[in-house]
Each structure stands twice: as structure tokens, then as C-alpha cells.
Homo-oligomer: 400 residues x 2
């Protein structure tokens, strides 16, 4: 996998446009003989397939179920085994938090302490509103420090994100979480010498927060895990000379896109607004990452009908996308989320690339089964980016 090494050298700036439409979790397993994609009526996607080139992608490699981070990084041409996003960073992106290079973030739980033992790692899954109140209380009550600023951001139920801002913070820290119930509170341990000072800051904070929360009946302490900082990752513009924009509803995907230098916008709810945003921004960018969440949500819920309907709804917007006459339109998923499994899986993703320069294969229907017969065969998702760039005329010849 030498693509990243070649990217800077081989890419050229052009006006040609690439649309990458990601139907999150699209890949599926059959339910009563058909996958959601096979069951859905998709005349416009099928028409595209018959003119384009298809295949099946593995986000990382065969058998690996990826999180959304590696799955998307691969689609954007980054080696997902090299660039790792910490859990804390992912969680922070998920709540729409801005993170800077000097920030250290961690996932947090409110938890219940009794007789010096953690008896509930989730504090009885307190309501989100209580979580919000507790975060506000902590943010207001924590002693102000000159050099380090600590802020908690509430998530759903017992979950929050803690952000430590200041110079010299390290993420080389063990989890401050006993992992099991019935054990005492746990402090973070520095995993390298340079993290000793940060560990002290975190552990002082854990004590202080536990003091402040001592009146709460259930949520009277906190656990922190997945300490992480922003990875050092080249932007899409640096690598490919593209002007990229992310058109997505969910914070995590916007955050991830922002991390690699994409312009972020905030479309109104619904697919209509999502696709309208492509049109509105069409002249100002040349790489459009369009993220549809519905397919994944339906898969996670095991809701086959909802997944099928989401696919059919997306299909109805294809003529609008094509009317923009992009040089390349690719449609795929970041990972599979089979309704049967109700979770991300390792199954490959159908991949379709339509372009004037694509070599039509025998595939006539957009489905997992048919895509496996396409010219592209089964390939690692990291090659989607060189393929899209090549078809858009944005790659120079390699060698003489």
C-alpha cells in the first residue's frame, strides 16, 4: 500500500468534479433470500451500474469489521492501519466538539460509587437531562487552573466527553476505569515518562469531580477512558490537491471530514436538503463527500424495511446528482451493517463508479451479488480514491 506516498507526486489540480456518495452501512446479508439492496427498487442506480464499473471493497482487509473512523479514512485514500483515530477523539467528533492539536480528550461515564467500590459503571443510565445538569455543575465548580482548562461535554445517558486543553499534554495514559463493577475507583497510569505530569492533572481532576458529585445519589463519580489527541494526518488538499466539502448531517462524520481538511456545512434535516446542498455548493468545490446515515441506522436497528426504503429514497435523488454532470460519481458504503447482525460487520461493500472513462462491465443491477462480478473485483477500499482521481483525470502517469 504505497498510495499515500504516490498521491502528492501524481495528483494534478483540475476543475473536474468527484461525487462520493456514502450510504453508511449499506452492505447487507440476505433476509428471506434478499439483501435490502436487492429488495429495494433502484432503477436509477441500476442504470448507473450498467454504464459504470463495479466491485466489492474491504475497508481494512478481509474479515475485519471496521469502526466508522477507519472505514471512512480508507474511502478517502488513507491507510486505515496507519492513521488511527483515538476513541476519545471519535467520541468528541460525535458530539460535535472542536478539538485542537494541544487538546487531550477522553470518553467519560458517570458511575455509582458505594463503600469505595464502583457498583454501577453507568450510574443506572441516568437521563440525558441529568447528565447535562451534572456536566454544567462540574464545569462551573471545577477550580480554575491557569495552564489547563477542563470542560465536560454531555452525550446520551451516562456518557460524556472530557476535554483537557493546555500545553504539553500527553495521551500516553491508561484508562481510569476499573472495567468491572465491585472494584475500587481507578486512576490513570502514565504509559510513558512524558505522560507523568498529565496523569497527575487527570487524577487530580478525577478526585475533584468525585468531591463535587458526592451529593448525587447515582452519578457520584466518573470514569475516563480512551485518552487521545488529534492524530497528525495530512489533509485531502495536501494529498490530492482537491477542494473538498462534506455534506453530512451527523456530527461524527462532519468532525472526521473536518479533521482531514474538508469544508463543513450544516444541511437541514432530511435527504432532500442533503442533496440540495450538493447542488448549492457545486461550483465552489471539486470533491463532494455525501453521507447518508439512514441506511446504517436501519441496519443497527435490524429494520430491513427501513433500510430498503432509505435505499429507495436515495435512488430517487440520483437523477438530480447526474444532472450536475460530475466527471465521477461513486456510490458505496463505508462498511456493512447487516440487519441480521444489527451491527457493523466485515462483509464487503458494493462499489459503483460511473464516469465517461469507466470501462463498463457485465453488472446491470446494483447489489452485493452483482458487484462481485464487476471489473474491479474485490479490492481494498483505500484504492477507491486513486480510482476516482484517475477517472476524473486528476492523476499523472507514473514513471516513463
Amino acid at each position: 500500500m504505497e498510495w499515500e506516498k504516490f498521491a502528492k507526486e501524481l495528483t494534478v489540480e483540475t476543475n473536474s468534479k468527484i461525487l462520493l456518495l456514502v450510504l453508511d452501512g449499506l452492505g447487507d446479508l440476505p433476509v428471506q433470500g434478499k439483501t435490502a439492496l436487492e429488495a429495494a427498487r433502484t432503477p436509477h442506480l441500476d442504470a448507473l451500474v450498467s454504464k459504470g464499473v463495479c466491485g466489492l471493497t474491504d475497508p481494512v482487509f478481509m474479515g475485519i469489521t471496521p469502526g466508522s473512523g477507519p472505514a471512512h479514512l480508507a474511502l478517502f485514500g488513507y491507510n486505515p492501519c496507519k492513521h488511527l483515530l483515538g476513541r476519545g477523539v471519535l467520541e468528541a467528533l460525535g458530539v460535535g466538539l472542536d478539538i485542537e492539536k494541544k487538546d487531550l480528550v477522553a470518553r467519560g461515564n458517570f458511575a455509582t460509587l458505594k463503600n469505595d467500590l464502583i457498583i454501577d459503571r453507568r450510574a443506572g443510565r441516568i437521563p440525558t437531562s441529568e447528565n447535562e445538569n451534572l456536566c454544567r455543575k462540574l464545569n462551573n465548580s471545577l477550580k480554575r487552573q491557569e495552564e489547563i482548562k477542563i470542560v465536560l461535554y454531555p452525550g446520551k445517558e451516562h456518557r460524556f466527553v472530557a476535554k483537557f486543553s493546555g500545553e504539553g499534554l500527553s495521551d500516553s495514559l491508561s484508562d481510569a476505569d476499573p472495567q468491572k463493577e465491585g472494584k475500587p475507583r481507578s486512576y490513570t497510569q502514565p504509559l510513558s515518562q512524558e505522560a507523568a505530569e498529565t496523569a497527575k492533572i487527570v487524577n487530580d481532576f478525577l478526585d475533584e469531580a468525585t468531591d463535587i458529585l458526592s451529593d448525587s445519589p447515582q452519578a457520584n463519580t466518573i470514569l475516563l477512558r480512551g485518552f487521545s489527541k488529534l492524530p497528525s494526518i495530512p489533509t485531502i488538499s495536501e494529498l490530492y490537491k482537491l477542494k473538498p466539502i462534506a455534506i453530512a448531517h451527523y456530527p461524527m462524520y462532519k468532525g472526521l471530514a473536518k479533521l482531514i481538511g474538508m469544508k463543513i456545512i450544516h444541511p437541514e434535516k432530511g435527504l432532500k436538503a442533503l442533496f440540495k446542498a450538493v447542488e448549492k455548493n457545486y461550483s465552489d468545490y471539486n470533491f463532494f463527500y455525501i453521507h447518508v446515515k439512514k441506511t446504517d441506522t436501519a441496519g443497527e436497528d435490524g429494520n430491513f424495511e427501513a433500510k430498503k426504503e432509505a435505499i429507495e429514497e436515495v435512488d430517487s435523488f440520483m437523477p438530480g446528482l447526474l444532472a450536475l454532470q460530475p466527471e465521477v460519481l461513486a456510490v458505496t458504503s463505508d462498511h456493512s451493517t447487516p440487519c441480521l447482525l444489527k451491527s457493523h460487520s466485515w462483509h464487503p461493500n458494493p462499489f459503483l463508479l460511473y464516469s465517461q472513462a469507466s470501462q463498463p462491465d457485465k453488472v446491470m443491477v446494483f447489489s452485493e451479488k452483482e458487484c462481485s462480478q464487476g471489473y474491479l473485483g474485490r479490492f481494498q477500499a483505500v484504492y477507491a480514491m486513486p480510482l476516482m482521481l484517475a477517472h476524473a483525470g486528476k492523476l499523472k502517469k507514473y514513471g516513463a
Copy 2:
């Protein structure tokens, strides 16, 4: 890609013969529904396909359009991302120049200088005959030096190759080319300390050549770029214990083959002479690289009919090749040159391997579309060599 590492250990010397027939630029995009290969009548190739095993290859990886250098190196089992041939070396091979380890070569242009500015980087594309006269004049007029010998070799129009021979020359040099017109002459800069002395030699030569050319109306200065030396690359015999011969008409392919230790011959013009040369040399070698240029030339010209005819002509020589009873006959292209694009492209190459030991797949017709359905699937061209060696009984078991 670990093949090169395994090659020496696993290969065994045998008398079995491998014929690798390269139809340069064969892969195509459909014109009026068919590629040149689909349109061509190829009864003999189709018969081979039905008994052999097929696939589609990517010379480097998906999306990458290779030059002839990396594309051929991959077919010979070399990692094309590791072994790079400098532009100067390729150009020198292209004009049929002998290069030795101590030589430094560069691509040159005659150019027009006016009021100390380069006003035409190609000297009005002077006729080749004038180029030849100017090279002769320079070769005769340059001051003889004891340690460094400089010779210019004319190419077409304004192009030439400059060869510097001597001890201690470095190719770590920037281009001596302002790249744009309207700028002053440009000198080479050493890109490492060891290249300082070489840069001085090159820059003195540039001044001297410009003095000698001062009378010429158009071609009154020169530009040099792509400084390069022979790469250090193991030979085919070292890696695979083969006795290889290249049967090709064009200097660049012969030069490239010579670089990796193949015996070079000079067949008469025409495909008949080319294939006759295989027969003539059959008993003395066991690896035959047979290069057909016509298919690529037709693709570069956008001449669909000529490409189709070239393929049909090649097909007619297949019975002759088969009569030799080689253990392996592989037919493929180094890269695609679609008539529609009139240039090399990133599209995959049809690949056919016929042998007594090949596992026949469902493919019955030699075409891009059918090959995509073969057992070999889509694979990197670098694996063509281990496949050919294996089918020829030249690879030992790996591990116990």
C-alpha cells in the same frame, strides 16, 4: 509484495520454456459497444483461453497509469514502486543508447534564447536532420576533458539525450530547465553534497554548448532534465535462474530488457520476422519476452481499426507459437492504451495463461470483459511472473 524476496530461494533451473507475449497497450475501452479486442476475430487466442486461465492485471495498482518502464518491470516480477527508472535512462534506452553504471544521462531539448530569455523551449521543433547536425557539431566542438566524456545523441525534432561518462558522477541534480518560457536560462542545482562536482561539470557544459550554438537562429541553447543513472536492479537470471531473451523491435523495450540481463536480438521488421525469431532462438533460451508494439501505436493514434487488425495479425501467429510446445504461454499487455483516450491509461489488462498445468476457468473468449470472470480475478501484474514460473514447474514448495 514480497515476491522478489522469495524468488531467489524458490526458483529452480529447468529446461521448461516460458513465452510471454506482450501486446503493448492492448487493454481498451469500448468504441460503439466493443473494445478492439472484442471486435477482433481471434479464433486461436479464444481456443487458448478456453483451455487456459484468465484474469485482469493492474500494472502498479488500481487507478495508476503506468509508463512503459514500471509496466514492464511489473510483468517481469519486479516491484514497480521500488525499482524506478529515471526519465533520462528511459529516453536513452529509447534512442538505443548503451549505458554503463558510471554514466549519467539526461533528456535534452534544443531551445531558443533571445535577450537572455528562453522564448521557445523547443526551438520551434526544428527538423530532426537539423538536430542531428547540431549534435554532431557539439560533439566535435566540445573541449575534450580527461576525466569526463560528454556525447549528445539526437532524437526526434528538438529532443536529444546527453551522456556524461566518468567516475564519481551523481544524478542527484535538479532540472536545468526554466519549465516556462519568458524566463532566463536555468542551471542545475546539486540536490545532495556529493553532487556538487557533477553540477559544476553539467553547468560548464551548458555554457559551452550555448557558446557553440550562438550562431544558430533557433536552436541556440539547450535545456537538460531527468538526470539519471542506471538503477541497481537484479537480473532475471539472478532472480529466477532463467535464460531470457527479448524479441522486440523497438529500442526502448530492448534497452529495458537488456537492463535486467536479457539477451537482445534485432529481428527484421514485421510480425512475421518477430515470431520467426522466437523459433530460431527456441533451443537456446527458456524465457522469451516477445513485444508487439503495433497495438499500442494504434491506441495512441486512436485508430480502432488498426488496433483490431494488429490483434488479428498476432492471432494468426499463435499456431506457430503453440507448435513449439512451450510449457507456458502467457498473453497480456503491459498497460492499456484505449483508442478513446489516445494514451496510456489505468484500466486493467486482459491476461491469459495457457499451460498443461493451468486450471481452465469459464472464460471462452479473449476480451477484457471475459477475462474479468476468470479464476485469476483482478491481480497486480507483479504476480504474473510467479504464476508463469509455477506453471512451468520452476517454483519449489514454500515451507514444509
